[in-house]
């Protein structure tokens, strides 16, 4: 079905169309039983991710619309939404902004979801399969405009509370230090 996009045309056109076709193929692909990289592969090294783990820059599903919509549903089904709202945060930090405490690479986010983080992010690895976790990774990244724009969700089934992921500005991710751990003032510093 995908091949129908690649019809003969001017040379430059073919190149464009082929690129589009490839993007379209992965955008539309639906995966029911996939073997995405296992949790162990998702070592928290961006280098490992990009070179030999088989995980692309945007994760296995960063360009896949169906996986992204699955991820959006899982984000509600596993109550991520209760702590992170629809990306703006609450009990947990915002996920639609540029700031990342534990890294924005797909493998970092995979590890965050699977293993949890010390300041209140629960570990979900006993509840969520690796495939679902990667779908969540793709959706979490799409909240701040990462991954293919064409694949991102365009509308929400619920009341509108934020611009749709497809309309969200693509943030330039930055690493931030965790919220300052308390530094009780020294006794001498007291006025």
């Amino acid at each position: 079905m995908c091949s129908r996009f690649a019809e003969p045309a001017a040379r430059a056109g073919i190149v464009v169309l082929v690129v589009l076709a490839l993007a379209a193929c992965s955008r539309e692909r639906r995966t029911f039983h996939d073997s995405p990289p296992a949790a162990s592969v998702a070592a928290e090294s961006a280098k490992a991710v990009r070179s030999d783990s088989g995980v692309s820059r945007d994760g296995p599903y960063g360009n896949n619309a169906w996986a992204l919509s699955q991820g959006k549903q899982l984000f509600s089904a596993f109550n991520c939404v209760g702590c992170h709202s629809h990306g703006g945060g609450g009990m947990g930090p915002p996920l639609m902004d540029s700031a990342w405490i534990y890294g924005f690479e797909p493998a970092n986010i995979y590890a965050t979801i699977a293993n949890g983080r010390p300041n209140g992010m629960p570990a979900f690895k006993s509840r969520i399969t690796p495939q679902q976790t990667w779908e969540l990774v793709a959706y979490v990244r799409s909240m701040s405009g990462q991954g293919s724009k064409a694949a991102r969700t365009n509308r929400s089934d619920e009341m509108e509370v934020r611009p749709a992921e497809a309309q969200t500005k693509t943030e330039k991710p930055v690493l931030v230090t965790p919220p300052p751990t308390v530094t009780p003032p020294a006794q001498e510093g007291h006025p």
Binding site: S76, G82, H86, G87, G88, M91, N119, M159, T168
Partner: protein
């Protein structure tokens, strides 16, 4: 302030006849004056005599006395000299989350608890600049930060028997020696893995330390416990859902209204076993009447917020209780919000007053509920004497004095697949945790509160322990008039507002009334304000470094002077957008509060500083 009695303009239809005046010349907030005739001798209401004590210059518990009056009998600072108030000393706590605690003053010492990690600072007021004597760190589990629904706040400590006692976010009640700062005992009373946290300030009655849990958004099962003051041992636990035996309902239990009578209603008013994860925590305020030997408090909202998942009255959530402090035995209960639809917790304060009522004296408690009604209940029986709106209400029509029932507005009932718009008050209610004050000199209650409405839509939610159990998308917005906050002076005898001050942001700080006829409160922009207790006229204001959501207190220093103290440091549910660095593009963030607070980051940074003011 002659401008106060200007043009009359009816603002809403909730029974409040509202007159608005233009903004004052000095850029003060506009006043809304409802009725100017306050009898010179006051309204006739008095603090319940047995629940208060003569002024001793201390402030040993957040609500000042058992009646929760938050009234200081000190009168050095008055309406005529308050304009000279200046900071005497300040102390940066190093903790930059919402600071809701009241500073506690015992003898020549002051104690203050910060937001997570719940540091306890002790200052020696007799030393120059009130030097820090010691600091105690209870080291709460870091993961507790992700279990607290609405910022990692703490509402303060209480003093008794040489100990400063408070609850940590990770559910430890700690008693610290007031002299040395050494831990005397520590009791773990809840489990963060089940979504439980603690944010309330304990009330200590005789040899019982009374504490309750937070977590109505996490599918916890709510409770109140009585701990032994000497050892910290748990002496009794009363659950707020489940069979009568664990709710501590026995033969002495006499609810006033039929709707609250029956056996095991904490099980029967829930589908299946959902009462086990049904909410009903206790994270607010407790009052105590020594004459009746009863404590009074309300339980929180039921869980999940999505009401379609819990058909029934959901007892005993959003319910006011009277219990015996020693045993926890329930004496009466009154459910304000059966089958709560909008997160209307019942945990707000109650002030114990004696008022003239139809020719005789009546012992009442006045409770501003989240649902927008100010309830006057008979302390002995739980009978509702009046329940009048203090904010604009669309979610219900009235409270029946005959049956005690709340008449809901059916068009505002949340249903899956449907967006319900303009529900007023919004989820934090007409008023949230921020406690009111009462002055026996004016007979008025000073109620800091918010003016918010919301749109909401329920979504299906499954219970996963330690994660939110909410099932509701919410976006809040300013209520009628556009201002998001009010300070309302309430006549507890007539059940009507007397004057009110509008503020651009929710007034999320407590109030303090003093014998100098000055009322103090803070704003989320960081102003600490003094107004005239009789008229609401602005008298003084001082800009602190961050928004104020703390509880002001007054005390007499070792030098004999009157001081006023408050914590500055924005946060809490309303200020989570700043304290948690939330994204303003998502109006559902912080359970929908961000929708109404997008501009807050432009007016205040985070903070965490203790301010102490005096005249010289």
């Amino acid at each position: 302030m002659s401008a106060l009695c200007a043009c009359a303009l009816s603002l809403n239809g909730c029974g409040l006849d509202v007159h608005r005046t233009p903004a004052g010349a000095e850029g003060q907030q506009p006043h809304i004056v409802l009725q100017t005739a306050l009898p010179p001798g006051g309204t006739g209401a008095q603090i319940a005599a047995a629940a208060t004590a003569p002024e001793d210059g201390q402030w040993i518990r957040p609500a000042k006395d058992f009646a929760s009056s938050r009234f200081s009998g000190l009168n050095e600072i008055t309406t005529s000299n308050v304009a000279q108030l200046k900071p005497a000393w300040t102390f940066p706590t190093g903790v930059l989350r919402g600071q809701e605690a009241a500073p506690i003053v015992v003898g020549h010492m002051m104690y203050v608890v910060t937001a997570y990690p719940n540091l306890l600072y002790a200052f020696d007021l007799s030393k120059p600049g009130a030097s820090l004597k010691w600091m105690y760190n209870p080291k709460p589990a870091t993961s507790s930060q992700g279990e607290a629904c609405c910022d990692v706040v703490n509402r303060g400590a209480s003093y008794a028997d040489g100990k400063i006692i408070y609850a940590t976010l990770d559910n430890n009640v700690v008693a610290v020696d007031a002299e040395s700062g050494k831990e005397v005992w520590r009791t773990k009373v809840g489990d963060i893995n089940k979504g439980e946290t603690m944010t309330m300030a304990p009330l200590i009655v005789k040899d019982r330390v009374l504490v309750g849990n937070s977590g109505g958004e996490m599918g916890v099962r709510g409770w109140i416990k009585g701990l032994d003051l000497k050892t910290g041992a748990v002496k009794w636990t009363a659950m707020h859902t489940g069979p009568d035996s664990v709710v501590l309902i026995g033969p002495s239990f006499k609810p006033f209204y039929k709707k609250d009578q029956g056996t095991d209603l904490g099980v029967k008013t829930w589908p299946g076993t959902t009462w086990q994860i049904g909410g009903g925590g206790m994270w607010g305020w407790i009052s105590y009447d020594p004459a009746l030997d009863l404590i009074f408090y309300g339980s929180s909202n039921p869980g999940p917020w999505n009401p379609e998942q819990r058909p029934g009255d959901n007892k005993w959530t959003s319910t006011f209780f009277a219990r015996r402090p020693e045993t926890g035995e329930a004496i009466w209960a009154y459910q304000m919000n059966p089958h709560d639809l909008h997160d209307y917790d019942g945990v707000n304060e109650s002030i114990l007053l004696d008022i003239p009522w139809h020719g005789s004296k009546r012992g009442i408690l006045v409770h501003p509920d989240r649902n927008g009604y100010m309830y006057a209940l008979d302390r002995a029986t739980g009978e509702v004497l009046y329940a009048n709106p203090y904010v604009h209400i669309t979610s219900s029509d009235s409270v029946s004095l005959k049956t005690g029932e709340l008449a809901l507005n059916p068009t505002k009932e949340p249903k899956m697949g449907k967006i319900v718009r303009d529900v007023c008050p919004a989820a934090p209610g007409g008023k949230d945790w921020q406690p009111s004050a009462f002055s026996p000199r004016t007979g008025l209650m000073y109620v800091p509160h918010q003016n918010l409405c919301m749109d909401e839509q329920p979504t299906a939610v499954s219970y996963i322990s330690g994660t939110p159990y909410v099932g509701m998308d919410v976006r809040m917005k300013p209520g009628m008039g556009g201002n998001r906050g009010f300070v309302t002076a309430w006549n507890p005898v007539t059940g009507k507002p007397v004057w009110r001050i509008s503020e651009p942001f929710p007034v999320w700080s407590g109030a303090l009334a003093t014998a100098g006829d000055v009322v103090f409160y803070g704003t989320m922009e960081g102003w600490f304000k003094a107004v005239d207790a009789r008229t609401g006229a602005p008298l003084w204001k001082y800009k602190t470094t961050s928004g104020i959501i703390g509880q002001p207190v007054a005390f007499r220093g070792p030098d004999g002077k009157e001081y006023v103290a408050v914590m500055s440091g924005v946060g809490g549910w309303s200020g989570a957008i700043v304290a948690g660095g939330l994204d303003p593009r998502d109006s559902s963030a912080a359970l929908g509060f961000v929708g109404a607070m997008r501009d807050l980051p432009r007016v205040t940074p985070k903070g965490g500083t203790l301010y102490v003011f005096s005249l010289r």
